[in-house]
Symmetry: C2
Subunit: 231 residues, 2 copies
């Protein structure tokens, strides 16, 4: 039985879902600036997305816009937050691996603003165990079983070395954690239907940057050649 057949959810493509956090960010900024209404044109200019794309995206959830009046920012924000599961709600997270990346993420206070609450950090390095980052204690991984018995954890953030990722993933899944946010440079796959994994590949975004730089460079070379052949 699919999500859409039982009417629980409107059909939303993953392409649209992936843009929702962006809407969430911009709308949240507008709210904090006290802006309560915005035209799709203005939202479009701020976000760098076409107005027609915005209308199309938001129509997936029933619209929220009134012709000539623009969008009600608060209403739209609430709706998107609800779809993302973070309206008056948060996901509890733990970090496995308190190296540089783990600590950078633990320090990232924006996660709370987005509806993700860090409740524990785990590592094996005894030098840092007992320290706290933003009031969250770094505990030894040996304590993770007890911790998960006493605390509901929605998401484990995996910032362990590549070769330990699979083991760490199996461990947290065995403790009932359903969401894995994986930072090791692999596409982590597990044979469980109800486990959600998001693999973060930072360098993918860097390669896109490289591609665009190259395109600009090629364009310049081409323009120079044209200028030279014209003179």
């Amino acid at each position: 039985m699919g999500l859409n057949e039982n009417g629980l959810n409107k059909k939303v493509s993953m392409a649209v879902v992936k843009r929702l956090p962006r809407y969430y960010r911009y709308l949240s900024d507008l709210l904090s600036m006290g802006i309560t209404r915005i035209s799709s044109k203005e939202l479009s200019q701020r976000m760098g997305i076409t107005a027609s794309q915005i209308r199309q995206d938001l129509n997936c959830f029933g619209g929220f816009g009134q012709q000539g009046y623009g969008y009600n920012v608060e209403l739209l924000f609430k709706e998107i937050a609800t779809i993302l599961g973070v309206y008056n709600n948060y996901f509890t997270t733990i970090i496995i691996g308190a190296g540089n990346m783990g600590q950078a993420l633990a320090n990232y206070e924006n996660f709370e603003k987005r509806g993700f609450k860090l409740i524990g950090i785990f590592d094996i390095n005894t030098d840092i165990i007992g320290k706290t980052i933003r009031n969250v204690e770094i505990m030894h991984v040996n304590e993770i079983d007890d911790f998960c018995k006493n605390n509901h954890v929605d998401i484990a953030i995996l910032t362990v070395p590549y070769q330990n990722t699979h083991e760490a993933a199996e461990k947290v899944v065995s403790l009932g954690i359903k969401g894995l946010w994986n930072f090791s440079a692999m596409d982590l796959k597990l044979p469980y239907e109800d486990i959600i994994i998001e693999n973060v590949h930072l360098s993918d975004s860097l390669m896109v940057l490289g591609y665009k730089l190259n395109e600009i460079k090629k364009l310049k070379v081409s323009e120079n050649n044209i200028n030279m052949s014209n003179t």
Copy 2:
């Protein structure tokens, strides 16, 4: 004059470009395993992308597949690396801000494998200046002008605090750097046509994970309700 009009580049949509690093990763893994030929079906299963999507994507660049023979892995890898600008070529990068995120990225040796060479790290914290990460020295930001005079830098990775991002961006642009990879939680915008900026929003991916977790949860609640109404 657009890129496509002068025949320099085939028309490749950004949606396809964004998938190229993924192809690059998988093909590079296949090569290192000694696999020289692969069917679109098998590649599809490994990558979790439909075979028809793969054929469609790769057709943008002229195909590379022979009906019944599959893809030549090395040829395809070379072609994608070339499109991404990293075939027998690399982009030079510097990191501005050697906090946890900057150090995590500096330690990330995969960047080199992808064609990005780290040549300098800059910070203002005198406690860490002079230290090295993977043989790259952390220098004081005061030295960045001289450094950029003596070294060609393609990309600056910005891992500075939010409030310093704009200033840091203007600085590196004034030094002739054309590519900015920005990790502060803002959509950095600059009024220069030839500057390429990729803004990394880590929590966007976390929010997508949250969305999927929520969908699974709703599906379960729905199934339980149906089971209860059937008994």
